[in-house]
């Protein structure tokens, strides 16, 4: 693979940081929770205190423990859904884009159908077909959500593949005699990595939304704790009306943070694809030293002021470099 020069801008680092934090939470959440989230023996509707950092619910459960436990299911489902959806999008999109003709017609029609059908109703319908037991299975739910979320990515990948298909190196592979399938998987797919990564992030984002929505309207099993279910219970007990912000705001904030983190990482991918967006190692410190303002306008090339210390001209000592 190409040696990746990962972007190091603050945006991306913040995004990565957020996601890492939540990933860790996914793993250790249930262990570090102070109480059993389903235990309802506490006093009800307590405000946040030292004993209950986020207070208690109307049924006497500890909210903070629910939050920590909820991370696992929410994020797990979202990631599974994202991965499966992206995989389907890859297969459908790249095949449609490269093969063209009838295969393209068929696959495009399939994607268009899935795009046109409203996601949420489809989800609800699919979900209602699931046996009760499976509604608590993160993987099954992830698959169901994936089925509604792959179409957009497939269209994007198809468009990209169609433009790549006409590139010289693909033609060169054909000339050598490479088989169609190897061209699609080995030659074309790696060139789609940035788009795939971006698609994956957005699909995960979508999946969180979908899962939380399902939970919020009560369609998932309430025996598995997730942030959506928390908000479901909060809403059912009129928490907003009695200003019990500590019940429904924290899960909402967590969802928003995860989404924001993904979006920030996506900026980084954009920078990676488009080198012009990269700062080329020019931090503001360096710019100030050279006497240049941060924003450089097109059409007015900056002229460096004379500095008192002569800059060392850095030359490689490769005398006689023969190319």
């Amino acid at each position: 693979m190409k040696r990746l020069r990962l972007p190091r801008s603050p945006k991306v680092l913040v995004g990565v940081g957020i996601e890492l934090f939540f990933l860790v939470l996914t793993v250790i959440g249930p262990w570090i929770a102070p109480y059993n989230p389903s235990y309802n023996g506490f006093a009800q509707n307590l405000a946040p205190s030292a004993k209950h950092w986020l207070g208690t619910t109307a049924l006497g459960e500890d909210i903070f423990s629910q939050l920590l436990n909820g991370a696992r299911a929410t994020i797990l489902v979202a990631v599974v859904a994202g991965l499966v959806a992206t995989l389907i999008a890859m297969i459908v999109g790249i095949s449609a884009g490269y093969l063209g003709g009838k295969a393209d017609d068929g696959l495009s029609m399939l994607s268009n159908v899935f795009l046109a059908i409203p996601g949420l109703p489809l989800l609800i319908v699919l979900d209602s077909y699931l046996p009760q037991a499976d509604r608590s299975n993160s993987l099954i739910l992830g698959l169901v959500i994936a089925l509604t979320g792959w179409a957009w990515g497939a269209r994007v990948l198809r468009a990209q593949t169609m433009s790549l298909r006409n590139r010289d190196f693909v033609e060169a592979s054909r000339i050598i005699g490479e088989s169609r399938w190897r061209i699609m998987t080995v030659e074309i797919a790696p060139n789609l990595l940035p788009i795939l990564a971006s698609s994956l992030l957005f699909t995960i984002l979508y999946s969180i939304g979908a899962y939380v929505t399902l939970a919020y309207i009560g369609l998932t099993s309430t025996s598995v704790w997730n942030w959506g279910t928390m908000m479901f219970w909060a809403q059912a007990n009129n928490a907003p009306l009695v200003n019990q912000w500590y019940w429904f705001v924290p899960p909402g904030v967590c969802i928003a943070l995860v989404g924001a983190g993904l979006a920030l990482i996506n900026f980084g991918i954009d920078e990676f694809i488009n080198p012009r967006l990269r700062e080329a190692g020019l931090t503001s410190k360096v710019l100030r030293r050279a006497g240049l303002s941060r924003r450089v306008r097109l059409g007015v090339t900056p002229v460096l002021r004379e500095t008192s210390s002569p800059r060392r001209i850095h030359r490689s000592l490769q005398a006689g470099v023969q190319r």
């Binding site: 190409k2 010289d168 190196f169 060169a172 000339i175 050598i176 005699g177 490479e178 060139n191 190319r323």
Partner: protein
């Protein structure tokens, strides 16, 4: 003296149906990209095809490589007719290879150079343990040694000239008999072109490769060609053995081409203004001689009937009515023109 050809094309033609016309009315228009082109590629000989963009030379190359299917015509490989219209068999790819114009675009940017060459070898039956020797062999044939220094790099880390040699090495990996080179040096720096041109020539001379060299630069064609053809608007308008047609052009288009080439050795070329409508869009006629709208010595018959190829000399023919009666004299005198050419 010439051997039998390895790859022979007879009356290759390729039309493209294009939906043209705006303003609500869309009708199908036929673009005659290549029309009735015949050629023979023989071992140890470089055949040069000279033409501008739109002349059909690239489509011709792709038809010879069988990645574009001709609308009509025949191909003979090794004396046997090739079944066109079916999927191109691997065996054909083994015998006929094509090198493209842009070296950086011809290599997959996310893979090492090594990968690009290995695929060529593996597809055509090389065993994994044979790979290193075969790779080294291919690289040394294009003078890229030591091979690992180039193989273990990404394409963008090499220079244009080196990468084009790698492209040629990739084509050579499969041990073809025919090498088709579509403008192999056009995108390279000037100081690097000669090296690659010399390589192409040496492949023909030393390795008996039947070579097709496509270019818009007639001077480079003169440098390496054993046989030259000039294409205009999909047709071969002039062909000759060696480079006779460059030194003594017969067809008006060839004469125009040669007069247009900047030649510092001959400063009179500055004042050689040939009256011609630039007309790249409007200038190709559908009826009669394709070049008629731009031809400085056009006659009545040219507008209505397409000329056949007339023999101008031994091994030299030109598709122009001016040569009908065996008239070998220069068909057009280059007229000094007052003012600038109208377009």
């Amino acid at each position: 003296m010439s051997e039998s050809p390895i790859l022979e094309a007879r009356s290759l033609t390729r039309y493209f149906a294009v939906r043209a016309g705006g303003g609500g009315r869309r009708h199908k228009r036929l673009v005659r990209a290549v029309e009735d082109v015949s050629l023979s590629l023989r071992p140890s000989r470089v055949t040069a095809v000279v033409g501008e963009s739109g002349s059909g030379k690239s489509v011709l190359a792709r038809m010879l490589a069988r990645i574009v299917t001709p609308t009509s015509g025949e191909l003979m490989l090794g004396g046997e007719a090739v079944a066109l219209g079916t999927k191109r068999p691997l065996e054909y790819a083994r015998q006929v290879q094509l090198v493209l114009q842009d070296p950086f675009a011809s290599m997959n940017p996310v893979h090492l150079v090594r990968h690009n060459l290995e695929r060529a070898l593996l597809i055509h039956g090389t065993r994994r343990d044979e790979l290193p020797t075969r790779l080294e062999g291919a690289m040394s044939r294009v003078a890229l040694t030591p091979p690992d220094g180039f193989l273990d790099r990404f394409p963008h880390e090499l220079s244009g000239g080196q990468l084009q040699r790698v492209s040629i090495a990739r084509a050579l990996c499969v041990e073809p008999k025919v090498l088709l080179a579509d403008e192999p040096v056009s995108m390279l720096d000037v100081s690097v072109r000669l090296g690659v041109l010399n390589l192409v020539r040496s492949l023909a001379v030393d390795e008996r490769m039947a070579t097709l060299y496509i270019t818009h630069d007639i001077a480079s064609a003169r440098y390496i060609a054993d046989e030259t053809m000039v294409m205009y608007a999909g047709q071969v308008v002039e062909r000759s053995n060696g480079v006779t047609l460059i030194d003594e052009p017969a067809h008006p288009y060839t004469q125009l081409l040669i007069a247009s080439v900047p030649d510092p050795m001959d400063p009179t070329s500055v004042s050689a203004r040939v009256a011609a409508d630039e007309g790249a869009r409007q200038g190709v006629a559908d009826v009669g001689c394709r070049f008629a709208p731009r031809c400085p010595s056009v006659m009545e018959i040219c507008r209505s009937q397409e000329p056949p190829a007339f023999a101008v000399a031994a091994d030299h023919e030109s598709k122009c009515w001016r040569h009908r009666d065996g008239n070998v004299a220069m068909a057009v005198s280059v007229a000094a023109h007052e003012g600038s050419p109208r377009a």
